[in-house]
Symmetry: C7
Subunit: 283 residues, 7 copies
C-alpha cells in the first residue's frame, strides 16, 4: 500500500540491517547461465555454458581473458561485465608496466571488489549486476575466486554461479575433497559433470555450447600451450575429447541416488543458519 523505501534506495538499511538493492543485484547474477570453477594443486579451471542470443549469432562469450595468468567467467548483466573486465585488464596491464610483474590474483580481485563496494554505499550509482568466477595462477599457485556485486570476494576450492548453480554446487560439495590431487583431465571431467547438473532437463553439453578455461600446464589433449600454462579458453573441437570422457547422465544419476538423503540435509540447512554468519549478502 505504501512505498517500501528499503528496497529501492541503494544505500538504505532495512530495519533488519539488510541492503535490499544489493540483494536484488545478486538476483541479476542468478539469471545468467551457470559457470563452474574448480581448483587442483596444479590447475584452476572454468567451465561455462556459452549463451546464444538466438540462432543468428554465434554463441556469446561467457569467458574473458584478463591477462596471461588470469581469466574470468561471468553470470549476469553482460554490459556490466564488459566494464568491470576492462577495468581488470587495466589493473593487470598497469602492474606489468609499473612493477614489471603480473598482478597477484587476489589483488586483482580486491580491486573490483572495492570498486563494487562503493556502489553499495554511496549515492549516484546502482550496484553492479554481474558475478565473476576468477581463476589464475601466481607465485602462490593456482587460485579460484568468486566476485559478487555486494563487494565480497572469496577464495574457493570449487564454486558455481548463475542459474541453477545450486545443483552444480551440490555435485561439487560431494566431490571437492578429491580435487586437490586430480589431474587436469579429471578436474575437467568433474567440472563438466557439475555443469551438466545446472542444465535444463532437455539440454545437453555440446562442443557448441561448452567453454573450458584453463590456467596451468597443458593437458595431454592440448597443443601449443606455453610452458607456463597461461590462461586459455577451449571451444569447439578441442572440447570434444573432454565431453566424451564424461560418465553418461543416466549412469551418473543412478550413482547419485545412493547417498543424497544423508548429504542433502546439512546442505539444505546451510542457508538456514543465517544469523551466525558474517553478512555476505545473500550469496
Amino acid at each position: 500500500m505504501y512505498r517500501n523505501t528499503y528496497d529501492s534506495d541503494n544505500t538504505v538499511f532495512s530495519p533488519q540491517g539488510r541492503l535490499h538493492q544489493v540483494e536484488y543485484a545478486l538476483e541479476a547474477v542468478k539469471q545468467g547461465s551457470a559457470a563452474v570453477g574448480l581448483r587442483s594443486k596444479t590447475h584452476a579451471i572454468l567451465l561455462a555454458l556459452k549463451r546464444s542470443t538466438g540462432e543468428l549469432a554465434s554463441y556469446q562469450q561467457k569467458m574473458y581473458r584478463i591477462d596471461d595468468h588470469v581469466g574470468i567467467a561471468i553470470a549476469g548483466l553482460t554490459s556490466d561485465a564488459r566494464v568491470l573486465s576492462n577495468f581488470m585488464r587495466q589493473q593487470a596491464m598497469s602492474s606489468r608496466m609499473v612493477f614489471n610483474r603480473p598482478i597477484p590474483v587476489n589483488r586483482l580481485v580486491s580491486s573490483i571488489a572495492d570498486k563494487a563496494q562503493v556502489n553499495t554505499q554511496e549515492y549516484g550509482r546502482r550496484p553492479y549486476g554481474v558475478g565473476f568466477l576468477v581463476i589464475g595462477q601466481d607465485k602462490t599457485g593456482p587460485h579460484l575466486y568468486e566476485f559478487a556485486p555486494s563487494g565480497n570476494s572469496y577464495e574457493y576450492y570449487a564454486m558455481s554461479i548463475g542459474a541453477r548453480s545450486q545443483s552444480a554446487k551440490t555435485y561439487l560439495e560431494k566431490h571437492f575433497e578429491s580435487f586437490a590431487d586430480c589431474t587436469l583431465e579429471d578436474l575437467i571431467r568433474h567440472g563438466l559433470h557439475a555443469l551438466r547438473e545446472s542444465l535444463q532437463q532437455d539440454k545437453e553439453l555440446t562442443i557448441n555450447n561448452t567453454s573450458i578455461g584453463i590456467a596451468g600446464p597443458a593437458s595431454v589433449h592440448e597443443k601449443d600451450v606455453p610452458a607456463g600454462g597461461s590462461f586459455r579458453i577451449l571451444e569447439g573441437e578441442p572440447v570434444e575429447v573432454f565431453l566424451k570422457s564424461m560418465v553418461p547422465k543416466e549412469t551418473a544419476e543412478a550413482q547419485a541416488a545412493e547417498a543424497p538423503a544423508a548429504e542433502a540435509p546439512p546442505d539444505g540447512a546451510a542457508p538456514a543458519q543465517a544469523g551466525d554468519q558474517d553478512v555476505s549478502m545473500a550469496e
Copy 2:
C-alpha cells in the same frame, strides 16, 4: 495503487534483479521502422525502410555513413541516434588521426556500448532510446553488430531490429546458414525478403522507401565503387534492379507455408528459456 519505484529510476534493481527503465528504452527501439543486416564471407549489408514524416518531407535517413569502412542503420529516437552517430564519427576520425588507420569495427561498437552502459548505471541521464545495426569491414573481414540501449553489443550472422523485426528474424533464421557463401546479389535479395516480412499488410518495398547499405566489393549492378568497397548507401533508381530480383510475395508465402510448424516452436520457445541466459536485458 502506489508508486512503483523499480521502473522509474534508471539505476534501481527490481526484486527480480531487473532494470525496468532499460527495458523501456528497448521498447523505444521497437517503435522505429525495421532494419535488417546480413553478412557473407565477403560483404556485410544493411536494408531499411526509409521513414517519411508525411508527404511534405523527403524520406528520412535510416542509414548513416560513419567512416569509409563503417555504416549504421537505426531504429528508435532519431535525436539520440544523431548524438551517438556523431560520437562514432569522432571515434573513427580520431583513430585515423592518432593511429593512422581505420578503427576496428568491434572497437567502435564497444565505444558506444560503454557510453550507453554508463546511462544504465549512474544517475543524471536516461538510457539512450535507439538501437543500431552496425556493418563494416576491417582486417578481420566484414562484420555485423547490433548495439542496444542496454549497453550490450553482439556480433551476428544476420539480425533485424525495430517494429515487427521478429517476422524478419524468422525469415533470417530459416536461411542464415546459406548467407556465408552468398554473392552480394543473393545476400541483398535475402535481405529484401526479410525486410518485406516486417512490412505492414498493405505496404510494399519500393525504390522510394528502401535503402541498401553495403560494405564490401561492388556488385555487378554498381559503378564507381572504389576497389576497397567502402560503405555506400543505395537509394532510388539503383535499388530497382534488386527489388526486381525478389520472389513475388505470394510465391514466397506459399513456399514458407511448408515448414513453419516445425521451426516456429523452438523459435517461439527461445524467449521462454529466460533464466539460463545471461541478462542482456530484453533483446
Copy 3:
C-alpha cells in the same frame, strides 16, 4: 490515484518507451499561432501570423533574422525562442569569424537540435517549449527545416507548425508537388493560402497580422534587395500586393470541396501508423 512518474520526469521512459515530458513540450508548440514554410528551387519562404498581446502592443515578432542567409519563424514559448535564436546568431557569427563563411543551414539547425536533445536526456532542465521553421540558402541552394523540442530536425518541401497547423499541412500536401518550379510570387500565394487555412473562422489575413520571410532573389514587388537575396521580412504595406493576389476564401473552399474525401483518409490515417515509424516524438 497515484503519482504517474512517467510524465513528470524529463528523463524517464514510460513502459511503452515514450518520453512524456518531451511530448508535452510539443504541446506548447501547438499553442503558438501557426507558421508556414515553403521551398522552391530558388527560394525558401516563411509566412506567419503576427501575434498581438492585446491592442495596446504593436504585433509581436514571429520571425527573426539569424544571419544574412538564415531566418526563422517560431511557435511556442517566446522566451525559449529568444534564448535559442540568440544561440543560433552566435553560431552563425562564429562561423563567419572563424571560417570566414556563412554557416551551412543544416549545421546551424543541427546545433540547436543537439542542444535540445540534451534537455530530453539529462536532469536539471526541462525540454525547450518552442518549435522553429528555419529557412536559408547556402551553396546547396534554398532549404526549409523544422526544429522540434524533441531534438529532431527534418528538411521539408513545405511545412507548418503551431495552432491548427494540420489544416495548413493539408493544403500544402495537396499542392507541394508544384512548389519546386514556382516563381517567388506563386510560392508566396501558396503560402498565404496555407496560412489562411490555419485561421480561426472569423479571422482574416491583413497587412497588420501577416509576416512574410524570404530567402532568395527579389520578387518583382520588392526593391533594394541585395543581389544575393539575403533574408528579409515583409510586413505592412509590402505585404498588400501579395494578399491581393490570393484566391478569395469562398472560391478556394469551393475548389477544395471537390477532392477531400479521397485525400483526407490517408492523411488522417498517418498518425495511426505509429509503430513502424522512427520515434520523432509526436510531431
Copy 4:
C-alpha cells in the same frame, strides 16, 4: 487526492504544454498595486500607486530610477524587484563604462528577460515573482516595455500591471490611439485616469499615494529638468497640478457609460482566444 506534480516543479510541463509554476508567479504580480505606463512620440511615462505598509511608514517606493534614461515601476514581490533592479543598474553602468554610452532600452529589458527565462527552465531556483513596466529613451526615441516573470518582454503603446490592472487597460484601450501626439500634460492626465480605474471603490488618488515617472523633455509644470529630459519621479506637491487637471470621477463614469457594451466584449473575449497566440504564459 494525489500530488499534482505539474504545478510544483518549475521545469515540468503539464500534459497541455503549460508551466504551472510560471503561471503562479504571474499571480504574484497581480497581487501588487497597479502601475500604468504610456508612451507618446516624445515621452514615456509611468504612474503608480505608492504602497503604504500601515501608517507607520512613509509610502513605499513603486518606481526606481535605473539610469539617467531609464526607470521602472514594479508590481509583485518587492525583494525580487530589488534584486532585479540592481541587476539592471549594473548592466546600465557597465554599458557606460565599457562602451561609453547609455544602454539601449530594449537591450536592458532583454538582459532581465534572459535572466528570468533561466529560472523557468533550470532546476534550483523559482521564477521571479515580480513584473516591471520599463520606460526609457534612447536613439530610437521613447519606449515602454513590460517585463514578466515568464521571461517575456513586449513593447507597448500603453500598459498596466498589478491588481485590477484590467480596468486600467480597458481605459487605455479606449484612448491609446490618441497618445502618440499627446503633450506630456495630456499624457499624464490619461495615465492618471487609467490609474484611477484600478483603485478600490473607496480610494482616491492623492499627492501622497501617487507617483509619476517621466522620461522626456520637461513639462510646463517642471523645473530644473536637464535638457535631455532624463528620468525623474514626481511625488508629493509637484503631483498636485496634474491631479487637479483630471476629469472628476463621476463625470468620467458618465462619459464611459455611453459605449462600454460594444467595446467590452472584444476585450473580454481576448483571453478566450488562447490557442492561436504564442504562449506568453498567462499575461
Copy 5:
C-alpha cells in the same frame, strides 16, 4: 489527505502566487518577544523585552551593537540572528576599512535583505527565521528600518515586531505624528508605553527585563556619551528613571478607552486590503 507541496518547498509558488515557507518564517518572528522602535528628528531608539531562559540565566540579549552608529533589536530564532548580525558587523567594518567611513544605514540593511532574498528563491537553504529593527544615524540623520525574513526592508517612523506587536503598533499609530519633534526623554516614554502594550496581562516592565537602545545625542539622564551620540544600550539602573516617567498602566488604559472604537476598525481592516498591495509577504 495529500502532501501539500506548496508550503514545504522554499522556492515553490502556490497557485495564488504565494511562497508559504517564507510566510512560515515570518511566524517564527512572531514567536519572539516584542521589540519597539521609534524615530524623532534627532534620535532613533529601540525598546525590547529581554528574554530570560529561566531564572538560572541572566536575561538574554535582545539588542546588539553592530557599529558605532548602528544597533539592532531582534525577534525570532536567536541563532539565525547571531549569524546575520555577524554579517552586518563585517559589512560595517569593511566599509570603514575600504572607504574609511561608516556604512550608510540603508546600505547595511539592503545587504542583509539581499542575503535573505536568496534563501527565498534558491534551493539548499531555508529562509532566515528572524526579524530585526535596525536603528542608526548617518549623514541623512537618524533612521529606523524593519528587516523581515522575506528579504524586504522598510523605513518606518515607528514600528514593532514580535509577539503581540500588534498591540504596540496600535499605540504607535495613535501617537506617531508627534514623534518627530519629541525630546529623547519623551520618545523613550512613548516607546515604553508601546512596549507595555505587548506585555502579557500579568507582566510588568522592570529594570531587569527592559532594554533601551539609543542612537543620537545623550539624554539628560545619560553620562559619558560621546558627542556624536553613538549607539548604546541602557539596561538595569539607568533604565529606572525612564520607567518612573511612565504613565501608570491603569491611567493609560482609562485614557485609551475613549477613542478605540473609532480607530480600531481602520486598523483591523488593513490586513484585509490585501490584493492591491505589493506582496511584502505577510508582514
Copy 6:
C-alpha cells in the same frame, strides 16, 4: 495518513514557524545522562554522571578537557560530541598559535554555535545531536555556557542538561542566588545535590560514577593544581571527600518538602509561556 514534511526536513518551517528536526535533535540531548554546571565569582564547575556501557567497560568519559582554561560536559550522541570537541580544541590551539593567547570562552562557544546553526539551515547534514555545558575562565572571570544543537548558546549562573535535568534545575533555581559567593567546596556540594536529583530512584552517587570538572583555584582538598587553576577533572578517590560532605538524601528531601508547592507552579508554567519568548527551539 500522509507524510508530514515539516518534521523530516531540516530546513523546512512548519506553518507555526517551527523547525521540527531541530527540536528532535534536542530530544537526543535529553537521552544523555545528566550533567550539572555552576558558577561562583571565582570558579566554574561541572558535575556529571559517568556512563557505563555495561560492566565490561570502564565508565565512559562525560567530560573533556578542551584547553588549559576550558572544559566541557556532554549529553547526547557521543560520536557527535567527539567531532565537535575536536573542533573546539582546534579553535583553542589556533588561538594560542596565531594570537599567542588563550581563546576567550565566549568566542569558543560561538564557534561551535555557528557551526551548528549551519546544520539547521542548509541541506546536506542533520543537526548535531549533542548538548554541552562549557566552563572556563578568561580575563573576564569564570564562565558557564550551555551549547544546544539549535545553534544557541547562553551564559548561565547554573544549568543542567540531559535526562531528568529538570529535577536538577529545580534544585539549582532554589539555591542559585547563593552561588556567587560560595567557596569551591560549597559550590561542589551544591552541584552534587543537584546532580543527585537527576538520579533514578535506586541509584546513588559514588566515586565510580561521579566526575567533577573544575576551572579556578585549587580547593583545600586538591593538590598539584597550578596557580592559575587550569581545568581539571576529579574522578575516583579525590571525589570521595566531596561526596561525604553531602547532606544525606533523606534529610534533603525532608527539607525540600517544606516549600515545593509554592515554587513548582511558576516553574511548571514557564514552558507554557511560549509565544512571548524568542525562539530558542525547545530548550
Copy 7:
C-alpha cells in the same frame, strides 16, 4: 499506511531524537558471527568463529592484521570491513612513515570512528554495516576497543560483538574481574568459554572454525614470536592445545546453573535503563 521517513534517511532524527538508519546498521553487525575480546595487564586477545561460505571454501577470515601491534576481529558486512581495515592500515603505515613510530591504538580507533560518524550525519552515503573489536599494544599497554557503525568507540576490559554475543557477554561479566591478572593461557581459556556461549546448540569449537588473535608476549605454546609480541593469529593446529584446556561444556553449564537467577536480572535490566545513558545508539 504512510512512508515512515524517520527510518530511511540517514540524517533525519525521529521525534524521539533517534537515528533509525544508524540503528539498523547496528543490526547488520548482529548478523555476523560472534567475536570475543579480552584484556589482561599484559595481553589483549581476540577469539572468533571463522565463517565458512559452504564447504567449498576454506573458512573465511574473521581477523585481520592491521599493523605489527594492532589486529581486529569483525562482525557484519565483510565488504565494508575490507574498506575500513584498509583505511586503518594506511593510517598505521602513515604514522610509521611520517612520525617514525607505531600509531597509538586509541588514535587508530578514533580515525575510523570519525570516518563512520560522517556517514551518520551527512547525505550521500549509508552508515557502515560492520563492527570491530580492535586489540593492540602501545606505550600505555595492551588495549581492547569496540568500534561501532554509529561512530562510537569504547575501551573495554572484555567485550563481544555479533550474533548471540549477549551470551558471551554474560560469561564475560561473570568473570572479567579476574582477567587483569590472568596469564595468557588462562585469558585464552576464558575467551574460548565465552565464545562457546555464543555457539548454536549443535555447534562445537574446533581447530577449523576457531581463530585466536594475540597482542603481547608469547604464550608457553607459541614459538617464533618476536620479543615485542606483535599481533599474530593462531589457526588450525596451534589452536588445539587451547581448546583442550577448556572445561567441557556440560561441566561448565552445571557450574553456571548455580548463580544465574541472581545475576541475570541486573543484566537483563541494563538495556531497560535507557534514558539516563548517553546515546551510543543501540549497542
